[in-house]
């Protein structure tokens, strides 16, 4: 008696015929797009992408329609359109990264981190002057903003998750509404409430206050999210041991979300580090290095970029602009990577 061994098949995977059909579709689409390019007035890479999109969509639509009728054709239509959409969504980010890195690295030099612009203009040779004032200003302002933000944001998150008072719903709504406040409005608010009536002078502290308005909602919402992830058992265990609510929160809940809170802080920093509009309004934006946040104008990295872009026009100023953007981008990338790393590590546990 012979035994028949059944080879495991994979019926869901495309057969060789289907694959070759797909390849053929692609080839026809490329050919058609070239014809379209030739016939119509389209030109350039972008024109080709558009022509290719239309020809690919129609070719695969017709092929599927002939193979399996209308439902399959509709399905293939959505598939190809959504593929094209994600392609369109990804192009800008790749282009931004590539442009900033390729144009920015030429403007990088060590002097960038040791000199400021007090003795150089944006059009002077690239070796003169640097971003010291901008980097110091950004560090001071973001640090101060964090100092103001942290207690308010964490208390808000604790109110929403631990106290759950009767205002929890409206407060959650307001925090979300606050995250939509335009950055320029935050600047105007600080200007109208503090700079004009009280200090009469723009300074780094004012910049930090404006930034913290933008930072609070981001930090509060992220902190709330991580606090919600804490299992209720932990809170109940704390209370059952006879701890007061205050002790439970301080010694059980908050230590358990430490890494989540760090993520919240980092996301908050990333949110405000590139803010330009409020800085233009309230911090003055100086070229000289200023360590004093309460008096004198203070620069920041986005302000440096903005200045180099607006006042320039020469080769050097363009190089400065891109170098500044590259430094800014590196900050964002580093912060983003750390946040990702922390949250992926805490997910594994």
């Amino acid at each position: 008696m012979s035994t028949t061994t059944i080879k495991p098949g994979r019926p869901w995977e495309p057969t060789a015929k289907e694959r070759s059909q797909k390849g053929l579709n692609l080839l026809i689409a490329v050919a058609l797009s070239l014809v379209l390019l030739f016939v119509t007035g389209l030109n350039g890479k972008l024109g080709w992408v558009a022509a290719f999109f239309f020809s690919y969509v129609s070719v695969s639509f017709i092929a599927e329609y002939r193979r399996a009728g209308k439902p399959a054709a509709q399905d293939s239509l959505l598939t190809s359109i959504s593929r094209f959409a994600i392609f369109l969504a990804i192009i800008p980010i790749v282009s931004i990264l590539a442009t900033v890195i390729s144009k920015g690295w030429r403007g990088l030099h060590w002097g960038l981190f040791t000199q400021d612009m007090s003795e150089a203009t944006v059009n002077s040779p690239i070796q003169e002057g640097g971003m010291l004032a901008a980097i110091v200003g950004t560090l001071i302002m973001v640090g101060l903003a964090l100092l103001f933000t942290l207690p308010i944001a964490i208390l808000t998150a604790l109110y929403l998750t631990e106290i759950k008072g009767k205002f929890a719903r409206p407060i959650r709504f307001l925090v979300q509404a606050m995250s939509g406040v335009p950055s320029i409005v935050a600047g105007l608010f600080i200007l109208s409430s503090i700079v004009y009536p009280v200090t009469g002078e723009r300074s780094g502290l004012m910049g930090a206050l404006a930034l913290s308005i933008l930072m609070i909602p981001t930090v509060a919402r992220t902190a709330e999210e991580v606090l919600l992830l804490i299992p209720n058992d932990l809170r109940e265990a704390g209370l059952a041991l006879g701890a007061t609510q205050w002790r439970t929160v301080a010694m059980v809940v908050v230590p358990a979300v430490k890494s989540g809170l760090v993520t919240a802080i980092i996301l908050g920093i990333a949110r405000v580090i590139g803010e330009t509009a409020p800085i233009l309004l309230v911090s003055g934006g100086g070229d000289a290095t200023n360590f004093n946040p309460v008096s004198g104008p203070m620069g920041s990295i986005p302000f440096y970029v903005w200045n180099a872009f607006l006042l320039g026009g020469s080769e050097e100023s363009t190089q400065r602009t891109w170098a500044g953007l590259l430094v800014l981008l590196l900050w964002v990338l580093i912060l983003f990577t750390i946040a990702r790393y922390i949250s992926s590590r805490s997910q594994k546990r």
């Binding site: 350039g44 008072g165 205002f167 608010f189 309004l281």
Partner: protein, 325 residues
Amino acid sequence: MTDTQIPARIELVTKPRRSDQFFRFVVTTGGMSSLIILGLIFAFLAYRGLGVLRVEGFGFLTNSDWSVVEDENSNIVSQDYGLAAMLVGTILSATIAVLVGVPIAVLSALFLEFYAGRKIRNILIGLIDLMAAFPSILFGLWGFMVLMPSAEYWAKLLNKYFGWIPVFDVPVPFFTRSPFIAGLVLAIMIIPICTSISREVFSQTPLDRIQAAYALGATRFSMIRAVVLPFGRGGIVGGAMLGLGRAMGETVAVYTVLNVVYQVNWQVLFGAGGNIATLIILKFGEADREEINALMAAGLVLFLLTLVVNGVANILVSRLGKVGR
């Protein structure tokens, strides 16, 4: 027989300890801070802008003339503040952004949620999240130096073939720095947030309904049309409005790619326009006391506009959990 003594009754106290009372008080006060801050923003902007609003009345919104006339001793002869041109510009560029950005974002979200393989999906989501963290000045300068030349090409093409539609007509062939290009940059800026909200909404679609649709023989397209889109409709609209709010308040990215001119311009391809935020940045440097108050009033209008749009958006997104099932 020993008589057991019944212990005296102990009063059970539910009154929290003093430390807890203090804790709850501090946290509640802190929790109210967002209310306080939003209230203060409204109060101070209204306080500063009230004078101008009172003089201009409703014309502040409908009048499209923003001018300060000075005589040779730089005394102000007359001043006139009307926000209509910038209001139109704000709505115009934000609408373009939503019209271009939201379809791309929703389709991308569909791709990420239902088409992409695990690995590609994670990489793409990471990239899109990273894009959400990019500062606006990056988008603005990239838009100015990289996007604008190609966008101009598309603008000319649109004008060539659709110029007979009034919106795509131009009075003079000047295509650089138009609201269309500003709208494209804003569209790119709102794609990440719209994508992640739509994706979140789609991922909440009940699995049993999806599987039921497949079991009935639905293709992916008909499953999405019959199950996912009806379920996520509110979330998609909410995400779009959130994007609209973002696009309305954007300053720097618009300023770099838009030729800020104070005139009402409906023709999206023509290089003139502006929005409220860019008006504030533009006029702020040389403004005197009175004009700054007018700018504060403009800021108040922008604040209220974004607050309303965001509020409606958040209600739509958060209501989602309750519909269905």
